[in-house]
Amino acid sequence: MGEPGTKELLSLDELEATANAHSGRKHILSILVENKAGVLTRIAGLFARRGYNIDTLTVGPTEDEQYSRITLTFDGAMHSVDQVTKQLHKLINVLKIRDLEPADTVARELALFKVAVEGAQRAEVMQISEIFRGKVVDVTRRSIIVEITGTTDKIEAFERMVRPFGLIEMMRTGEIAISRGRGET
């Protein structure tokens, strides 16, 4: 491919090929950071300027108030995960990063679904919710809100089930994750 300094024309396909150079399995990074102003901006900014796409991102306090935990999921080939991790480590406020192995990790996400239901449909949606161990948290004559907790796969499966009824809104938190066993994440 040419450089911007040369007059060779670039085809859009070539540009697309470059953009898609990094894609692979989903990664969950658990990042321990100092609880200071601007830390989230630094992390989000780093992803943006290095051209990495964040799928989900959650931030919350930890057992120690000096630190916060950022759980971040993104799509990436192994090579770029290595770069992402190293670049994140260069941020002064970042203390620890774990690229969590799915098999050794408990990951959960919370989702709220507002579904349009009338008459008999309500019972049907409630039945599906029960199968997914969901909780009905609000009911009106023409709608129902269901709370689901679980892995991303489970939440997506539930979404597929209720969408045909008329999905008015869906809110998802993004995943949080913790490593299995006695050791710290």
């Binding site: 040369t6 630094r42 770069q83 480590h89 002064i92």
Partner: protein, 558 residues
């Protein structure tokens, strides 16, 4: 004590002897502290000049350069120097004023989100929210700026907080739990690197600015001469290995020597020390050094295997690692004749492809000749800064740097207008040195206001403008790659640099004859105070040799 006086105390505790800056509303209190602060302040004419001066000072001395700017436009004016310092790993601290805390977020007069604007381009930054945080922030900023991979740190101080009365006590315990640069280098990896070098038949040492930053030139020479390793340096590394030297191949990369680039192309083992496989070095990545395995030594783990996968990665300070590497290498039994064939090949390239150009047959000064003349006139013993473009490449090729911290230029960012303020800063840091700036007629105009600073503060830099009346490098690319359709590269014949120099209080000269050039230059160098020399050179000369963009090293032209 006023917070601003505490700032002065902190700066002194960090060994700061000079600050480059320009006052404004949001740092009025800080400037009041300069009156009795006991720290020299150089009043620049534009904050960008102050930032680059701090860089020049840092690069020439190895100490942290410090620049001050006010809020809003003052802060945005130092953004370019901040990025420049980030790209070239220059230890710098920028202290910016901010509007008072109750105005933050209201679009107050001269308010800008300095932290937000600079966040992607700093090593770290501090937004002061309480006056009590100021001393700690300053000490942590200096520690971060100078340690690990050096870089710029920004401290943004709201004006009301700087007026506060605080109990100042020196800060000795830094609290940076997320910042522990690995400086030692893994002993096992170093041993492995030594063994690999000992068995390589076509080794090359490729050294960069990291060697200069780590003050590891001596160690580099020891390592290279513990066998007969050929050495090439990047633009940022020039001077880290003394030129000329029997093992010196010249600079590598887009405008490097054929010998250096061909050696990389055919090497079986490349030992990269404090460099980062920039695209100006590799050319077409897929065809870069196709036969080589790589040892990569760098203080920044993120540079290792970023673009070129390293076979033997070593994270550490170049000085530490090289010291250990020399020791390991000397302990090995090495057959030094294994590289004889390699040297034969290298010798043949050197003989066949010296850095040559066709000289004029009349009085016309070729730009390459101009650099050679300056080399001669200074006895090769000057600190040389440059702007960005053709003149920068010719300076890098033809001025042979035999010591580190003698060649100061903007490599990563390629900032036009860098040279003059950087020379100013270098001269302040090294008052006894001869400091010359090789500038382009395009670049010099981007920070020419600093001539007033030089004249006023008696900073005797000597500026040699390589004047071809063009934005020369862009012209060259338009000639070579865009069918010579020149678009907005002709700079015409203004300004008159001699008159301009005089207007600024400097001495102006104009040289047009090559036969007297060396003597004329000596006269310029002997002139007291700042001097600007308008050297008229060949208008359309191209910088060669060259790896055309997107090409491989072996396809060098010119």
């Amino acid at each position: 004590m006023r917070a601003v006086d505490a700032i002065m105390e902190c700066l002194k505790a960090e060994g700061v002897e000079v600050v480059f800056g320009l006052p404004g509303g949001a740092n009025l209190p800080t400037y009041d502290a300069f009156v009795d602060g006991g720290i020299r302040h150089v009043l620049v004419r534009h904050e960008a000049g102050g930032g680059h001066a701090a860089e020049g000072y840092a690069k020439a001395t190895g100490r942290v350069g410090v620049a001050f700017a006010t809020s809003g436009p003052g802060a945005t004016n130092v953004v370019t120097p901040i990025v420049d310092a980030m790209m070239d790993s220059v230890p710098t601290v920028f202290i910016t004023g901010q509007v008072r805390t109750d105005l933050i977020g209201t679009d107050g007069f001269q308010e800008t989100d300095t932290l937000g604007i600079t966040m992607p381009v700093v090593k770290h930054s501090f937004q002061i929210r309480s006056p009590l945080e100021i001393p700690r922030a300053i000490h942590e900023a200096f520690h971060i700026a100078r340690s690990g991979r050096p870089g710029p740190v920004v401290i943004d101080i709201p004006v009301d907080l700087s007026r506060a009365d605080i109990a100042y006590a020196p800060v000795t315990d830094l609290h940076l739990p997320g910042y522990q640069p690995n400086v030692d280098g893994n002993t096992k990896q170093i041993r492995q690197a030594a063994k690999a070098m000992a068995s390589a038949r076509r080794p090359v040492i490729y050294a960069g600015g990291g060697v200069v930053n780590a003050n590891a030139s001596q160690e580099l020479v020891e390592f290279a001469t513990s066998d007969r390793f050929p050495v090439t340096c990047t633009l940022m590394g020039l001077g880290a290995f003394p030129a000329p030297h029997p093992q010196w191949l010249g600079m590598l990369g887009m405008h490097g020597t054929r010998t250096a680039n061909y050696a990389m192309d055919e090497a079986d083992l490349i030992c990269c020390i404090g460099a980062r496989f920039d695209d100006r070095i590799t050319g077409k990545l897929s065809e870069f050094a196709p036969h080589a395995k790589f040892i990569h030594i760098d203080i920044d783990p993120a540079e290792i295997s970023k673009t070129i996968p390293a076979h033997i990665p070593i994270v550490g300070d170049c000085k530490n690692v090289l010291t250990k590497l020399v020791k390991e290498y000397r302990a090995l039994e090495v057959d030094t004749s294994r590289t004889d064939e390699w040297w034969e090949k290298i010798g043949a390239w050197q003989k066949k492809y010296p850095l040559a150009y066709t000289d004029s047959t009349d009085a016309e000064i070729k730009p390459q000749f101009m650099v050679q003349a300056l080399y001669e006139a200074t006895g090769g013993d000057a600190i040389v800064t440059s702007d960005v473009g053709q003149h920068q490449m010719w300076a890098a090729q033809h001025y042979h740097f035999n010591q580190p911290r003698r060649w100061i230029n903007s490599g990563g960012l390629g900032t036009m207008g860098f040279g003059l303020p950087a020379a100013l800063g270098a001269q302040v840091g090294c008052p006894d040195a001869t400091v010359v700036c090789i500038a382009g007629d395009g670049s010099i105009q981007m920070n020419i206001q600093e001539l007033a600073t030089c004249a006023e503060d008696k900073i005797p830099v000597k500026v040699f403008i390589m004047n071809n009346g063009y934005l020369g490098m862009v012209r060259q690319w338009q000639e070579l790659f865009w069918d010579k359709r020149y678009s907005h590269v002709d700079m015409g014949s203004f300004p008159d640099f001699v008159k301009l120099a005089e207007a600024y209080g400097a001495t102006g000269m104009r040289f047009t004859d090559k036969s007297t050039l060396v003597d004329d230059m000596k006269a310029a160098l002997a002139t007291e105070g700042p001097v600007v020399v308008d050297v008229r050179v060949t208008r359309e000369e191209n910088t060669y040799p060259m790896i055309a963009p997107g090409q491989a090293a072996r396809e060098m032209v010119g």
